[in-house]
């Protein structure tokens, strides 16, 4: 009896150590960047956790030297318009695939997903020369266009998976009452599919907000978005880490909040979509 008890204690000690290791590995880097954002120029180069916190870094990144708010605005514009186009288009497509008999439906869904297998750098090459010819290089329009190729497939998958689980009875009742299909979608399907739509919105938000490669290639000055702008915090002696950390913290706050809101549905949606 005693050995069993001891075994249990040893087991739970190991378990606790394991959990602590995981927590340290995953959250220590975030904590460190958070601390760095409040450090002064001198404290940055020491690894001490005892220092006088300052808000100077946050003040400086919004000063005229960096124009951080311009990049924030660019990111917001790109995300906003990408989502405004993505959502209605994906909702209608998801509804159609979920509710109607469409020849080659499985193949179509696979093809939509398959567009995401391809390394997107292949697509940027023709876009670069086309945008150059059209004078769209270094504009937010260019970023919105290329981002759509990313968001629409994911949104269709996530929303379609959710619509499949909504019973059709309500819609049929609506149809008997003579409401048009679009009205049924608006009044009946949309409210019921809300969790799925919110999940897709957040996921697309995070994808576009964090998108780095397109922005790096297609923008240079005017339309630069946040992830690329992070590399601008460079002074005479190399990177100004405390300012970059402050910018980074302000940059990631929206994604963290949104992701926490839809965490449950998101993982369910991703794995369910993948299993089907």
């Amino acid at each position: 009896m005693n050995t069993v008890k001891r075994k249990k204690v040893i087991y739970s000690v190991f378990e606790l150590i394991g959990v602590l290791l995981v927590v340290t590995f995953l959250f220590f880097p975030i904590l460190w960047i958070l601390l760095t954002a409040f450090k002064s120029g001198e404290d940055v180069y020491s690894i001490s956790v005892i220092f006088e916190p300052t808000l100077d870094n946050f003040r400086r990144i919004f000063s005229s030297a960096y124009n951080f708010e311009n990049y924030y605005m660019n990111s917001l514009i790109v995300v906003f318009f990408t989502l405004i186009i993505t959502l209605p288009v994906s909702i209608l497509a998801a509804y159609s695939i979920s509710r109607f008999k469409i020849p080659g439906k499985t193949l179509l869904m696979f093809a939509i997903l398959a567009t995401q297998f391809i390394p997107l750098i292949v697509n940027v090459i023709p876009f670069f020369s086309a945008f150059r010819n059209w004078g769209l290089l270094d504009t937010t329009i260019a970023l919105i266009i290329v981002n759509l190729g990313h968001t629409i497939p994911y949104a269709i998958w996530l929303i379609k998976g959710f619509m499949d689980s909504i019973p059709k009875d309500m819609e049929e009742a609506g149809a008997i009452d003579g409401a048009s299909r679009l009205r049924i979608i608006w009044n009946i399907v949309l409210p019921m599919a809300k969790p799925g739509i919110i999940t897709a919105t957040v996921f697309c938000f995070v994808v576009v907000w964090n998108e780095f490669m397109f922005a790096l290639i297609l923008t240079s000055q005017e339309a630069v978005t946040l992830p690329v702008a992070l590399s601008y915090f460079v002074g005479e002696n190399g990177v100004i880490w405390n300012e970059m950390a402050a910018a980074g913290i302000i940059y990631v706050i929206p994604t963290i909040i949104f992701m926490l809101i839809v965490r449950k549905q998101f993982v369910k949606g991703m794995s369910a979509g993948a299993i089907k």
Binding site: I47, L92, Y95, L148, G149, V206, W209, N210, P227, M244
Partner: protein, 292 residues
Amino acid sequence: MENRFFKYILLAPALLIMGAITIFPLARSLWISLHEWNLTESLEIGSFIGFDNYVRAFSDANFWNSAWVTLIFTVATVVATIVCAILVALLLSKEKPYISYLRAVLIIPFALSPALVGYSWRFMLNPDYGVFSAIIGFFIPPLADVVWLGNAVTAMIALISVAVWIWLPFMSLMFISGIMGLPKEVYEAAKMDGANGFQTFFRITLPMIQPIVLIATILMTMFALKQFDPIVTLTSGGPGNSTEVLNFLVYNTSFRYFDMGYGAALGYILAIITVAFVLVYMRKLVKGDDWN
């Protein structure tokens, strides 16, 4: 009154946009890959040279270097992430209050911008003032003076750990939802029969979560082959070209040397590798349980 074409009208905008933004550029890229075209010399696509760009790749030392680097990076990242994610999932799939809080915030690292993560790790790995270097040096004194991003092997290790850090939370959550969904009765029966923890894991848990392992492997391989942001911000392919994965080589060829034709060909080679891999695994997934 139901219009026969209504369903296609609903579908049309999405298909049109995807056609214009994904399919058309993909075809255009293939066309470019069959031409000679350096953007610094001409704005117009150059002369048709057939598969010369592809042939060129196979005699290009940079290509073979990148192919090798990509292989090491992908295999190590996928294996490390999946193994760690299963271990984390075993730890965190318990019904205890503090663990369920932890599950709730587990997604946070995944929401962070990979570009920012790359920069942050570069800061923390700095040999003079980096906190990671200091911690590693404290626990393993012989490693105290290592310049992590200054040599090929340690730079690759750093890159792999960043990739694992980014993907571990998401993959763990996939496994957690799989493990927590398993029927409890089986475990009770195993306990009655006196099975120990290892036996329970290898005989029961692992076989039952096999489909998830397969899906996770497919997703993870795709992500690893496409990884770009943290590589640019952590190592920029260096030192030398020791961490220049294929994706980054395509970027350098096309947008630093503006050799669009050759860049497109390299991109296509990467795309073909990715699709071939996914198809092989998809077949396994569809066929089901022939995993042995």
